[in-house]
């Protein structure tokens, strides 16, 4: 195990009646890093975050933050939320409507009995940082969504917690604001140096914010790694589908130097890179995962154009590849439904994984 891990989650299980929300989740985060918990709704990522925050009590496993065990089912340790020294930003902002902006932001200091004068100074400084200096005395309900988000962020950071949790924190903002907040968050984190865990179902957000990704599915960790490796080499068919790749069924023909040759049901052959792990045996079922942007028009497999939708710089095409649907995103070519086309997929753009 990595000794400098700042957060260590080990074999966490959370059961709701017959439903297993967390089914043995383990991961680690280094100090000052950002981890994104990514996955479709219901995969357990929010439950995971709430267990770290102490808002849910897991049924088994262990959580360690900054060298301190905050939860351990075996030893019966379960620190209440308020003793875990965290900051949290919720999707609904959870800005208290009966308090002013300054009171909201100052709350963690007030609870910790920081002297009044110091409280005021720190709140003022924090509000400057998040760009709400002029709003301190406003009622929190008078603010726009983006501003409330900043209040929630300032409140989560004011007491300088070493770990800050974000629960779909940007999902309620419109696209432009989200983009801007994402950048600001990165800058803030560089400046304040906190460790962050970021729950999201939006892959762009996860890639943009995190140094490390944990993709979850049905209460389990599906894959884990840096954004680039998760993006370029999807480890499982689930990850490939979740990231929006084409996933084609095929049969293994053979492999050579990490490159596999597979046969699609229609008899066409396709070459791709073998994913990490074991080499599938000849004749076994495999899946070929191809990013839409990597399905290019040009000499190769014959297909029929079914539909297209114009996206501006690119156009998304729905192709019929011998009865199988294939999607491509390419610069607009102006094809019409029914056109016969040919598509080419480079072996290095295609990841071959064992099926099932």
């Amino acid at each position: 195990m990595d000794s400098k891990a700042f957060i260590r989650v080990d074999g966490l299980v959370k059961q709701y009646g017959p439903h297993r929300a967390l089914d043995g989740v383990s991961f680690q985060v280094d100090e000052g890093h950002t981890l994104a918990l990514l996955g479709p709704s219901g995969c357990g990522k929010t439950t995971m975050l709430r267990c770290i925050a102490g808002l849910e009590t897991p049924d088994a496993g262990r959580i360690e933050i900054a060298g301190r065990v905050v939860f351990d089912a075996a030893q019966g340790i379960n620190l209440p939320s308020e003793e875990r020294q965290l900051g949290i930003v919720f999707q609904s902002y959870a800005v208290w409507p009966h308090m002013s902006v300054a009171e909201n932001v100052g709350f963690p200091l007030r609870v910790r009995r920081v002297p009044k004068a110091e409280q005021q100074a720190r709140v003022a400084r924090m509000l400057e940082i998040v760009g709400l200096g002029a709003w301190a005395e406003k009622s929190a309900t008078q603010l726009s969504g983006g501003q409330q988000q900043r209040v929630a962020l300032a409140r989560a950071l004011i007491h300088e917690p070493r770990l800050v949790l974000f629960d779909e924190a940007l999902s309620n903002l419109d696209a432009q604001l989200r983009e801007q907040m994402r950048m600001e968050l990165k800058i803030l984190q560089d400046r304040l140096g906190f460790t962050a865990i970021y729950v999201t179902h939006d892959q762009a957000e996860a890639f943009g914010l995190a140094e490390r990704l944990v993709v979850m599915n049905r209460g389990r960790v599906e894959t884990e790694g840096g954004p680039r490796s998760v993006f370029h080499r999807p480890a499982t068919p689930f990850v490939a589908r979740f990231l929006g790749l084409n996933v084609l069924e095929g049969e293994m023909l053979g492999s050579e130097a990490g490159q596999a040759e597979i046969r699609l049901p229609q008899g066409m052959t396709l070459r791709g890179m073998l994913g990490d792990g074991t080499v599938p045996t000849r004749g076994s079922k495999v899946l070929a995962c191809v990013r839409k942007e990597h399905v290019r028009f040009g000499a190769g497999l014959p297909a029929e154009l079914r539909a297209s939708s114009f996206l501006g710089l690119t156009e998304e095409y729905v192709l019929d590849l011998g009865g199988v649907e294939l999607r491509a995103v390419q610069p607009p070519t102006g094809g019409a439904p029914g056109d016969r086309v040919q598509v080419a997929i480079r072996p290095e753009d295609c990841v071959v994984l064992p099926a099932g």
Binding site: S81, E82, S92, V111, L165
Partner: protein, 576 residues
């Protein structure tokens, strides 16, 4: 090209005159407006009559305008004593029912208290019972010397509870608290249930403990609802005639409602009563306006819709025992013990303060139901009033709710304020207004005037309930019906009314319950032959405990029947 083709095809249609622009209001606007106007007249009539009467003084045969009635009332020490006592009762009942109502709602909504599904319902039962009967039952339980509870405590626990006197302000406050707790409970229940749990979780994660979070986050967030509930409880409990009649009057403790009642008994002094009534009304209206202003500033959007449901707090063993004990005290004190006492007394031929099962008999019931003219007539009158009154009230409420939610926006605010006025007016005061209005007309001493007073005093309850349902119905649902070719009446009949049905049924049952037990207005308006169950209970109170208890049980059965139907329709009372 195609346009001319079509034009040619339908050319004859063009000859027809275009439909005349509708100058007339049309049903769509006339009907709801009529409902609002009827409501306004029902409120304004008695109040204006009372205002005028309070300013009139008779010199022999000629009346003249004067403030003499007011100066006279204000100079009487007994009036000030009555006002002080009533304020004390109202404040005491408000504080206690806020504490009890909030705690019970919190236990049900936010903890893992065992049996909370049933208790959630059980806590509401007193809402449907009669406070007058409750007060009588508590006399059976705690009458000086002969109360069932005192005897029980003496015999089995060796405790002498003789120092507690039920005929006191304390007794009034106790019974009022039992009956008004469900009001607060209903007011705070939905914010407690629907509050975004992240608001509390954020406090916990950022370092606040459980009690700190409760005090600085949870309670402040519920406080607008709690304060609304508190004001409603204060105004209505202070104005309630039933409980002081049973518990304060026998000790000659003056209270506002009983003083107004006394003023119109023979020899009646209507000027004095009207002046007193006007002052009470002034205070009520001021309080209501203050509440409206306060709420307009502080209505939090606690419900964000994007949050998630609160977790249930594990109480632990000690907490569970404490919670269940509180529930037992409340439901026991408000429902079970009074019912038990009533049944015991009603089954005893002669009530002496102890129940002997071997001598139990149904004689009281036989007499009350089959032989006694007064009680038979009273039951018939109450049922007639409740059924017709609830029907008229609900019809009026549907029209008003339509106006308040779909009518001209600029006029809604004022209409809403005026139409909710009766919510705060004590029944005895509105009754007084109607008495003054009707005393020289053929309506006097008819069942009709009682019916009118009932509808006038209580239609806002129905309007509120139905209005709340309107908020959940998107106007586009009716607009789609209109766009599909339905007339306004058709869109009402096939789209809006079916959607409103749950609220309409709830409102009808609520009015039915209120009318079956109403006393404050009826006591001033009844005459021989138009007695209701509640009036008969008062009239018989001095004669026979057995008849009173038997009749009270009959009323109780009617009320519980309505409560059961209310539950079966699976709707919740919305009052805020």
């Amino acid at each position: 090209m195609s346009a001319t083709g079509i034009g040619r095809g339908v050319a004859p249609a063009r000859v027809e005159a275009p439909p005349a622009p509708r100058r007339f209001l049309g049903l769509q606007r006339a009907l709801p407006a009529a409902g609002v106007i009827a409501g306004l007249l029902l409120v304004a009539g008695p109040l204006l009559a009372m205002l005028v009467r309070s300013l009139l003084v008779w010199d022999g045969e000629a009346a003249r305008l004067s403030l003499a009635n007011f100066t006279r009332v204000l100079s009487e020490p007994r009036v000030w004593e009555a006002v002080g006592n009533t304020a004390l009762c109202g404040a005491g009942a408000t504080l206690l029912s806020c504490a009890l109502g909030f705690t019970l709602a919190w236990l049900v909504a936010r903890t893992d208290m065992p049996g909370r599904r049933w208790l959630e319902l059980g806590n509401l039962i007193p809402f449907f019972l009669s406070p007058y009967v409750g007060a009588i039952s508590w006399i059976y339980l705690f009458a000086p010397g002969s109360g069932l509870l005192q005897q029980f405590a003496m015999r089995h626990l060796g405790l002498d509870l003789g120092f507690i006197n039920i005929y006191s302000l304390g007794g009034v406050i106790w019974v009022l608290t039992l009956f008004y707790t469900p009001y607060v409970y209903l007011f705070v229940m939905s914010p407690l249930k629907q509050m975004d749990a992240a608001l509390e979780d954020a406090a916990r994660v950022h370092g606040a403990g459980f009690w700190y979070t409760l005090r600085h986050v949870s309670i402040p967030l519920v406080s607008p609802a709690l304060l609304s509930g508190a004001l409603v409880v204060f105004i209505t409990s202070a104005g309630l005639f039933d409980v002081p009649l049973a518990l304060a009057l026998p000790s000659n403790i003056p209270t506002m409602p009983t003083e107004i009642f006394a003023a119109v008994q023979y020899p009646a002094d209507f000027g004095r009563a009207a002046a007193f009534g006007m002052m009470v009304l002034g205070v009520t209206i001021l309080l209501t306006m203050a509440q409206r202003r306060y709420l307009a500033r502080r209505r939090y959007e606690v419900v964000t819709g994007k949050g998630y449901r609160p977790r249930l707090l594990p109480l632990g063993r000690g907490g569970r025992i404490a919670a269940l004990t509180l529930e037992a005290v409340y439901i026991g004190g408000a429902v079970l013990l009074p019912m038990m006492a009533l049944v015991m007394v009603s089954l005893s031929r002669l009530w002496t303060g102890s129940f002997d099962i071997s001598r139990a008999s149904l004689a009281n019931f036989t007499y009350v139901l089959f032989s006694f003219r007064l009680t038979q007539q009273a039951i018939l009158n109450s049922l007639t009033l409740a059924v017709t009154g609830a029907t008229i009230g609900v019809a009026l409420a549907v029209l008003q709710a339509y106006y308040l939610n779909r009518g001209t926006p600029s006029r809604r605010g004022l209409a809403d304020a005026l139409l909710s006025l009766p919510l705060g007016i004590p029944g005895i005061i509105l009754g007084l207004g109607f008495l003054i209005l009707a005393i020289r007309t053929p309506l006097y001493s008819t069942l009709t005037i009682v019916l009118i007073a009932y509808v006038a005093r209580f239609f806002p309850f129905a309007t509120r309930t139905i209005s709340a349902m309107f908020l959940a119905i998107n106007p586009e649902l009716e607009q789609s019906a209109r766009a599909s070719g339905a007339s306004w009446a058709q869109s009402m009949r096939w789209v809006l009314l079916p959607l409103l049905k749950p609220a309409v049924i709830a409102a009808w049952l609520m009015l039915f319950v209120i009318f079956i037990r109403e006393l404050g207005a009826t006591i001033l308006l009844y005459a021989q032959g138009t007695e209701t169950i509640s009036v008969a209970l008062v009239l018989l109170a001095d004669r026979s405990a057995g008849y009173v208890a038997a009749l009270a049980v009959v009323q109780l059965v009617l009320l519980l029947l309505a409560f059961t139907l209310f539950r079966l329709t699976r709707t919740t009372v919305t009052q805020s």
